[in-house]
Symmetry: C2
Subunit: 140 residues, 2 copies
């Protein structure tokens, strides 16, 4: 399964992503089809199918880092708020079966786009990633 | 502000809630207007306006406990999945300005009800709370 998992491919460098942050435990990159401009994913490097499988200390680390990355995105993009979302199992709406935590900058009067999310290009995602990476320095 | 905060009132015992779990740091109770049957909130006892203000170690504790409570709710209610949601600032859609983490059991083929959520009675919430409290024993 890990052979075919798109997030494992990104982690192994076999698929492209607009990376904002990476260390030995996690990687954060732009969502390919944002629910709101600046939508990021924080992903464990180890392949866990969902939150049930993630060890508590690693889950804690993911969330604390998601907060910092979110605060950087909020600042970099002049957002008006920040939402976090995480979902598990097909019955819960999970689509990629590798644990990930959504970090979503929010804008006044703009609802989250849940259905019919449109893909944006790697170039556009890289422009977001660069801005957020710069802002992240002060939150780490 | 904490005088008027509805979550602070619940914590002080001045407002009713269907409580599933409580310790010195957090309280978990049923959402009054569930996005899906069994929808819970995990709330810090200390009044923090949003995630930006919550200390990292307390945030980590909230999320690890939210996972355990969610797994108990999933089991107690025969749910098919589990979603977590957390939002900050008016521009992000936050309505109660006391940090809270949503734990939402999910059911096959049923979308989250975001708009026009209907309030359910305290009695009904207490029936959910009792089932989840019993299941929680094996996840703590």
């Amino acid at each position: 399964m890990e052979q075919e998992c798109v997030f494992c491919k990104i982690i192994r460098g076999e698929a492209e992503a607009a990376v904002v942050y990476e260390d030995d435990k996690i990687i954060a990159f732009m969502d390919i089809a944002p629910a709101s401009p600046g939508h990021l994913l924080v992903v464990t490097k180890e392949h866990y199918e969902n939150i049930y499988e993630v060890p508590d200390d690693l889950l804690a680390y993911v969330v604390v880092m998601a907060k910092k990355i979110g605060m950087a995105a909020r600042k970099a993009l002049n957002a008006d708020g920040l939402s976090f979302f995480q979902t598990n199992e097909k019955g819960g709406g999970q689509e990629i079966f590798h644990f990930h935590f959504h970090v979503i900058p929010r804008y006044k009067g703009v609802a989250l786009k849940i259905a019919n999310r449109k893909k944006i290009s790697l170039e556009e995602r890289k422009r977001y990633a660069e801005k957020i990476r710069e802002a992240l320095r002060e939150f780490l």
